[in-house]
Subunit: 196 residues, 4 copies
DNA sequence: GATGAATGAGGATTCATTCAT
DNA sequence: AATGAATGAATCCTCATTCAT
């Protein structure tokens, strides 16, 4: 029981990972169950053994990666040592860009949830996204409290910052003139200019 | 001929405008030819007299709006009076947000062109977008030249700024707590903080 | 406009008639859109030009024939001349058996509507059936009023009678020992025995 | 062997009983192997250890119930005490209605066997049904022989009566205005009117 | 120019069935 | 005996596209 359950979970993750790659290449509507199955050398029907339907599968793709990213951000945010808000934020920017870049295939923050998800799946997606965004609110607030940041309308500012960060997936290409670390530095530099 | 040509052109624009409204609401994949036709009290078939196919039509929607936005931006950029770079940029931000707000989907800069457009349509879209972005580069450069802005790596900074601006589409809702004008002010405020 | 409308209606009826034959041979679930289309030398897709979906098509099949039967029964019931209730009823039996026999392919009173129809289609089917049954109630009631019939619990009795009549489709075969007219006579004889 | 055989038989019956309940609720096509298995806390696959395939299983459901009904009818018919044909018939009506009411679908005499059963299963079903009907012929004949009934064309009359009885399935609902016993009385009353 | 009608290529989903373990 | 997993055929339905009139 234990074993088969674990095996099933592993398989589910395997499917998710493969599906994520396809979804991010072709988009939500552009991806077919057929294609996902084929990439795994399975048949369409088998997918339905592991996922209720396409919406479910795609939803779990999104969830899978976003949850991981959230966990990373939270760890960074909860670090107990006396790190300044600026440094924590910079670390968070790094994490975000890491996901957007290395896991581009998996964390599509760009798609509009309302178009991609319906009914029962929409709400959890929105919740998770809100949570994700909230982590940035938290660090901004902390910076303000500690007198490190000066922010007018923090929510709008956070929206602006996240927009800039998300946009990375649209244009950053590996092997560009600048390294990822360069970009992270520049972004952090710009963002701190806004917040100070 | 002349007359009929002109009439056809007018009809084409009429279709575009109606289609844009629908695309804005339902998105690219969510829009059907049927729906576009119905809204104009035409039949599906007739659309094919004016547009080669759906991709063509949607492409032209995008083009139509983006071109108008470009024209607006250019007019603002070319205004000969001695406006400061800051003020010009603020005006440009206003224009962008206006379009992002009112023409949501047809000016969907968030869409990855490589996903949405194929073959003959991809290249013009990319070109126009590059042009659009270039207008922001231009104003930044001007500000730098005139000693008004101080920018490190202007392209990266512009990408960041445009990201923040494009993202507006995803979250600005009419009747929110803040008015569009408030948001424009806040965005300009933040952006100028980066650039100064 | 007139013409094309009329042509469409004719086509719709053509489809219905063909579909009716198939549905009655294979049953509701056993019939596929493919099959219906093939029988008409059309493609599946075309059916959807005329009918919203399978439920709609099947519903209209049922409706088409049942409505005709109802009309026939009503004409017979409303005949102004001083026909006795017995004679009217006999005529109605004849009509019912006529449909069950000659139009066996089309009037399947046997299928359980609740299983075959869903949502929006169930209610009209039930209503029409109730109406059909009501016509028999009417003649029974008339007979009672006129002192011609003596009936205890007319609804139950009518249910019993209609059951016996509907059953005809299960066993009457053309070219049996008895003619249809024989069967009608025998049924009328038995039914009148119940009612008198 | 003996023991395991007996255990298998018991299991088979257990499955049948559970399946019958489901089939009664959802009908032949509406029932899935999955569902039957789930109700028994088994998996789909296991069912195939006990039954060749779905047709087999459903056929045996039908058989199981119909055989029991036949047995009940026969017991009633063979009762040696000097019961009148009328009383025997009334008892048979009671049995039929009891089954029609409680075992709705699995004793679905309304289903056209040729539609539901194929190949090897069709013939036994037809045979059993014929036998079932024959029991009613028998009592009618006995009544005639004993001078209790007067029947013209007994086969047609029996068809009519059985039709009325089978139809019960379609309309009797628990908690109606009349009790089952009321309905049995009324049916018997009407049927005897025909036969006398 | 316009349209009614038809088409056909998919795509999601269901489910009976199989089979290695 | 049982099951988890996989399969594939079948089925409904959508929609861009075509074309004769």
């Amino acid at each position: 029981m234990r074993i088969s359950e674990r095996r099933a979970k592993k398989k589910r993750e395997e499917i998710l990972k493969s599906a994520i790659a396809i979804v991010n290449k072709k988009g939500y509507e552009g991806t077919t169950m057929e294609e996902i199955a084929a990439a795994l050398l399975m048949t369409k029907g088998s997918l339905y053994y592991y996922f209720k339907n396409k919406d479910d599968l795609i939803f779990q793709c999104h969830n899978f990666v976003l949850s991981k990213a959230v966990k990373d951000l939270e760890k960074c945010l909860r670090a107990e040592n006396g790190v300044s808000a600026s440094d924590t934020l910079k670390k968070m920017i790094e994490i975000h860009i890491y996901y957007a870049f290395n896991q581009k295939e998996s964390l599509n923050l760009i798609i509009e949830p309302k178009k991609a998800y319906t009914g029962e799946y929409l709400e959890p997606v929105l919740r998770l996204r809100k949570h994700y965004a909230g982590l940035f609110d938290e660090i901004i607030e902390r910076g303000v409290t500690q007198g490190e940041f000066v922010v007018h309308e923090p929510i709008i500012t956070r929206q602006f910052i996240l927009g800039g960060l998300n946009w990375v997936q649209q244009w950053v290409r590996p092997n560009g003139r600048l390294t990822i670390d360069d970009i992270i530095d520049l972004f952090a530099y710009n963002i701190l200019k806004i917040l100070k």
